[in-house]
Amino acid sequence: MPRIDSAAELEELRKGILSKRDPNKPYIAICAGMGCHGLSNDRIITAFEEEVKKQDLKKKVDIRATGCHGFCEKGPIVVIYPEQICYVEVMPGDVPEIVSQTVLGKKVIDRLIYTDPNTGEKAAHQSEIPFYKNQMQHLINNNTKIDPKSIDDYLAIGGYSALSKALLEMSPEQVLEEIKKSNLRGRGGGGFPAGKKWETARNAPGEEKYVIVNSHEGELGAFMDRAIFMGNPHSVLEGLIIGAYAIGSHQGFIYTRHDTPQLKNNIDIALAKAEEYGLLGENILGSGFNFNVEVHFDIGIFVSGESSALMKSIEGKNPEPRAKYIRTSVRGIWEKPSNLNNVETWANVPLIINKGSEWYASIGTERSKGTKLISLSGNIVNTGVAEVPFGTTIREIIYDIGGGIPNGKKLKAVHFGGPMGGSIPESYLDTPLDFDELAELGAPIGAGSMLVLDEDTNMVDVIRFFLDFLSNESCGKCVPCREGIRQMLKIVTNISEGNGREGDIQLLEEISEVAAAASLCALGKTASDPLLSTLRYFRDEYEANIK
């Protein structure tokens, strides 16, 4: 493959790829995301490959092991294109029938299609299934259309056109301005405006600057970043290169999970292919802009996802957070300006460049723009990854997309943001998904994990679980975090065992205040947030266990 040196060459290549593809040629998209991987989807993939070989259909049918489709609850998922017939909970034994009946015979196999457990209604096409129907997908929708290992697949759906536009038609200042106008806010937890962060790094003194993809995704119950990154690695990479151009960085880092080798594999392939095509490395697309990327593994501890700890980890040091009185966008890796955004944030960038900030800012609420990927888990009918515009109410996400609470139970609370997040009770379900509105309720969105809890949940136990997690995952460096969490865990454990004492709640509040005010990093500062949110909405559950 000769490298691409101009916008014209990129478009020519794209045309070439498309000309060889027949949009009416059937293809089988088998979800190879992490959820389906856990359900042995590799056996399904092999079965399809063997069946296609057996029936000598290689030239007539394409098979794609794709990224996560989002509907983890019903995995392994198989979608047959071009009709978009969606089969759920597919077993290897179903494969010969799918190939003969559906792929060749164009007939729907009734027993494999989705049945709504609430209404009994059946849906043969993806677009009719409530889980998909009620989403607005701009990021995860491409997952079913591409093989993450194929750069040609990404180019076929318009990939790298945003990069070409940014590098060849826009100045770095114009790119930055576009991101600022879009009001894109960081999806990693803080919701900090991405454009503002980029601008700080861009204006920070120093020639050498870095851009980083945070793909650590340590938040409990969060699994949307790996869905996007594994399923569509080039979209994240494209966003990163555009960001680097706007900031003036020539070196990027991807910090990812050591326990997900499939993810690393897809990233490595994407980087190698992008470099081969001239989309990475020297003189990208003939623009004169140079940019390289290195991939780093985490070391398996929660706090290494915190920006300053992550940067130390990249330096090869112990990932202990440092005080960020001087921001990492000014002084980060090796003291150089370093702009860190998470996977989902970067994945939004090509979209904004392609469709414009005005289009982007038309989606969402006044201060939270675009769509958000949500990981649904807990006591919910449909576990999975969903994408919705900001402004969708929590009720809509849980009932229209999530299918409600299983076993006829009532909903008690929704917990956002993992061990440093917060819970809201049933009475706040009509709150729109919005960074600021949820933060005001004491339940900030975090990275986007939504843990649904039914009426049988003991909220004190939930908090005990989170504190126990944090007491192990804190780095242990500073006193308010290490010792504060230790003592809060002891008190909450006593209460959960029915041995609470008079004054325990006041003591918990006192420790929380000090941990929040005096801890070194965000872990300690927000470790008591879940506790405080439950003291706000479920105080009676604590009081009931205090003698």
Partner: protein, 204 residues
């Protein structure tokens, strides 16, 4: 070096760019308590007892004085109701581990901290890291380090290094605010040498 003027407890203090609030305060004889600070070491920010309140552009927040860089016109309060409340809690949390530390007891008296507020878990170590950092930064030996994370963090001597290096040094001993360091060293030493001596015995 650019000169910077700031206010600490209402007093005008001259500092230079790059200094921390703690350094500026000390240069003006204003006392801020510390447990993990040492002049020869890089600021660590672990104990948080040096927490002070700073006011920047009308916005007040607690920061660690040992890490916070001085800024022009910065207003610092080394004591306030909030600062005292933070220091009191930190002391109470630490006294659960090292109730006999004189340094902690003196500070406890100043801030009204109750040494019996939390159940005792006497590890004697408050994990200030003075020994660990002194050995790494000044001696460049790394004979003592932190092991484990979170609430399970502790210090540990590396027998292979400490059996060679520590005998003639022991410079970290007087840095310790409790007496745990010495105990840990003796323990590691005895472990290192008991295995060595038993090995010798079998060889003979």
């Amino acid at each position: 070096m650019k000169e910077i003027l700031l206010q600490i407890d209402g007093k005008e203090v001259k500092a230079t760019e790059g200094m921390t609030v703690l350094e500026a305060a000390r240069s003006a004889d204003i006392f801020i308590p510390t447990l993990c600070y040492h002049e020869k070491l890089k600021p660590y920010g672990g104990c948080r007892i040096c927490t002070v309140e700073v006011e920047v552009r009308g916005w007040t927040r607690p920061v660690a004085a040992c890490l916070y860089p001085v800024e022009q016109d910065l207003k610092v309060r080394t004591r306030s109701e909030k600062v005292d409340r933070i220091r009191k809690m930190i002391l109470e949390l630490l006294l659960a581990h090292a109730p006999y530390s004189i340094e902690l007891q003196n500070l406890a008296q100043e801030y009204g901290a109750d040494k019996d507020r939390f159940e005792k878990e006497s590890s004697f170590c408050i994990l200030c890291g003075l020994c660990v950092r002194y050995c790494a930064e000044v001696k460049k030996k790394h004979a003592v380090g932190f092991v484990k994370s979170g609430a399970k963090r502790e210090i540990s001597f590396i027998p292979e290094i400490s059996s060679k290096e520590c005998w003639n040094c022991k410079e970290c001993f007087p840095l310790c605010g409790t007496s745990y360091l010495q105990a840990a060293f003796v323990l590691a030493e005895s472990l290192a040498f008991s295995s060595a001596s038993s090995k010798n015995a079998t060889e003979k």
